[in-house]
């Protein structure tokens, strides 16, 4: 038995995606996607629209049929099961609450369909309404609720069925920012409290970062990287992840040497020298892409420090909590730095001569 099958059988894996592909004619919405979603984890599928994340989620729920591969939930293949036979529940993008039913009947719908007895249904519905803090609203019609309350009804309606996996299809997309942050917190609280497995689809990297135990970044139907928010952010696996998640300087360079301490040296075409984490499988003089996050690049007025890369400030953008300096280094490379608003360098003006520096530990070399 291969390792991943043993893991699935042992119950550590809630959802196993095995080489799943989905083709619409000649277009591949999903292309050879394999990943394991662990039991009790908040897992996000992150990517731009059309990257296949929703297709993957809907395939888990049974609303799309993959053309290749297999999907296992709790170790059992579910491809032959209809949505109403799967141990999953979905929170839909636009919630899809039943307009002809009140809050209580919306929430109790799943239990009623399974023929649960009336008293038990009423008890469970009340319990879940309390969980989402809507116990006073059972008798309301759904069109009498605010956006946030409707959101909670949708959560309650799914959670009352005690699904093995809860699927969330960008349910927060339609909310304004404040409510969105509040609901993020609420979802996270529920997930921790219930210890349930959540699979959350979003195109918002901030949302994915803030909520997830692990994230799968997708693009053009393919998996780009799977990891914790920190791994995704600090160690992007490729150019797509480096640009889609956060803001980064990307500089084409060529490796020039490898040092004893694990760092490698590289030089860009315009003469910028980098020290950074040595890429594991790179030849001595390979082309690499140096990735340096905007906030890891520090800007100093040239009279305050001795060493650094000489540059001049081309543009200074005030962004509230931070300042963005776009700098042209000697040799012509353009580098961008985001500086917290309380740093000493905040008064640097456009056109000023500055010195740039960064820690080698913050530079990632990508081989492509």
């Amino acid at each position: 038995m291969p390792r991943e099958d043993r893991e699935a059988a042992a119950g550590a894996v809630a959802v196993a995606i095995r080489k799943v592909g989905k083709r619409f004619g000649s277009v591949a919405a999903l292309d050879d996607v394999s990943l394991d979603i662990r039991r009790g984890e908040f897992f996000s599928l992150l990517g731009p629209s059309g990257c296949g994340k929703t297709t993957l989620l809907r395939s888990i729920g049974g609303f799309e049929a993959p053309t290749e591969g297999d999907i296992l939930i709790e170790g059992r293949s579910v491809l032959h099961l209809a949505p109403y036979e799967r141990p999953t529940n979905m929170i839909f993008q636009h919630l899809a609450l039943f307009p002809h039913l009140g809050v209580r009947d919306n929430v109790g719908f799943g239990l009623r369909m399974k023929g649960a007895d009336r008293a038990e249904t009423a008890r469970r519905v009340q319990e879940v309404l309390r969980l989402v803090r809507l116990e006073e609203y059972g008798d309301r019609r759904v069109d009498q609720l605010s956006g946030g309350q409707r959101q909670r009804v949708a959560m309650a309606r799914a959670l009352v069925n005690d699904p093995a996996v809860l699927l969330l299809d960008e349910p927060l997309g339609a909310l304004d920012l404040q409510l969105r942050l509040q609901m993020q917190e609420e979802l996270r609280r529920l997930q921790r409290q219930l210890g349930a497995t959540f699979v959350f689809v979003t195109h918002d990297q901030g949302e994915a970062m803030a909520m997830s135990d692990r994230i799968a970044v997708m693009n053009a139907g393919r998996l780009q990287q799977v990891g914790t928010p920190a791994e995704i952010y600090e160690r992007p696996a490729n150019r797509f992840v480096a640009t889609f998640v956060g803001h980064a300087n990307l500089v084409e360079a060529r490796l020039t040497g490898r040092r004893q301490d694990g760092f490698a040296e590289a030089v860009s075409a315009d003469g910028l020298a980098f020290l950074g984490q040595a890429p594991p499988h790179a030849g001595a003089r390979d082309a690499v892409l140096a990735v340096l996050r905007h906030e890891k690049l520090r800007v100093h007025p040239s009279d305050t420090v001795q060493a650094g890369v000489a540059a001049s400030v081309v543009e200074r953008t005030y962004m509230g909590s931070s300042l963005r300096f776009t700098c042209r280094a000697q040799g012509g490379a353009i580098l961008t730095a985001d500086t917290p608003n309380d740093m000493p360098g905040r008064d640097i003006a456009e056109g000023a001569a500055v010195l740039l520096d960064w820690s080698p530990a913050d530079v990632v070399f990508l081989t492509e």
Partner: protein, 276 residues
């Protein structure tokens, strides 16, 4: 506003008021003269002939409505679930016959159901019967066939529209929550299409209860309805007062039925488009 109000007064309210007035006129063998007497209403109550015909007409209209619903709901569902160019083709196929006059569409049943009609010829040539079947035409059954065929679109259309307004995500949500297809139909589709069903039932019932051409052409003597009786009061008996009184009685009864029905099936929603 004003042109609409004027229209309603001249073509809606005035004829009804005139009809009510006429129903109190005095009728004799010399014709109908303006007056205020209850003679016609008294006769409607006293003569079982009239009451029986009113009850029979209501019963026939109700059954025709029910039969239309049974035919129309699956048809509306079929149309609502088609996609793309096929939807257009099917819609046209369903609607085109209704561009033809309903008189013609009723008439067309004569060569189908008649003694030498299509069905009898088929039965004879297949050797299923030795002599033409006589009971296909000129009875109540033939009237139902005609009414359902002529008015079914008034049932299909509102149901089709109601089904089309149902968000497909609701059907997914229902399946996701464990509802099997028939449960989704019973608990989501049916309640959400209910306003369409009600509109359709009311339309078809109102049309069927006042049917005149269909029972006239297909009903023979046993399939006669109140509409035929009213027409004959005006056209052959020259008793306008009686015709008017029968009309007013029918309108009154149907109005009362709608009011009563409205108490428990939410007819108000039909006329307000579901808004409260």
């Amino acid at each position: 506003m004003l042109p609409g109000v004027a229209w309603l007064v001249v073509f809606g309210l005035a004829p009804v008021l005139f009809m009510i007035a006429v129903s109190f006129w005095r009728s004799s063998i010399f014709g109908t003269t303006p007056d205020f007497v209850l003679d016609s209403y008294a006769r409607i109550i006293e003569e079982p002939l009239y009451l029986d015909l009113i009850v029979k007409t209501l019963r026939m209209a109700a059954l025709a409505t029910l039969l239309s619903l049974v035919v129309s709901y699956p048809l509306a569902w079929f149309l609502a679930t088609r996609r793309g160019v096929w939807k257009a083709i099917w819609l046209v196929a369903v609607f085109v016959p209704f561009w033809i006059s309903y008189v013609v569409r009723t008439f067309v049943w004569l060569p189908i159901l008649g003694r030498n009609g299509l069905i009898n010829q088929a039965l004879l040539s297949l050797g299923i019967v030795d002599a033409p079947v006589e009971w296909l035409l000129y009875n109540e059954g033939a009237v139902y066939v005609g009414l359902v065929y002529v008015y079914t679109l008034f049932m299909t259309l509102p149901i089709y529209l109601a089904l089309g307004r149902i968000d497909p995500k609701l059907l997914e949500a229902s399946a996701d929550l464990g509802a099997r297809p028939w449960q989704t139909f019973r608990h989501v589709v049916l309640p959400l299409s209910w306003p369409g069903v009600l509109s359709g039932c009311i339309m078809v019932f109102l049309l069927a209860v006042s049917a005149y051409v269909t029972p006239r052409l297909l009903g023979g003597t046993s399939g006669i309805m109140l509409g035929n009786m009213i027409a004959s009061q005006f056209l052959s008996n020259n008793n306008w007062a009686m015709g008017a009184a029968l009309s007013v009685t029918l309108v009154g009864i149907v109005g009362a039925l709608l009011l009563v029905a409205g108490r428990w099936i939410g007819v108000a929603e039909v006329f307000t488009g579901g808004r409260k």
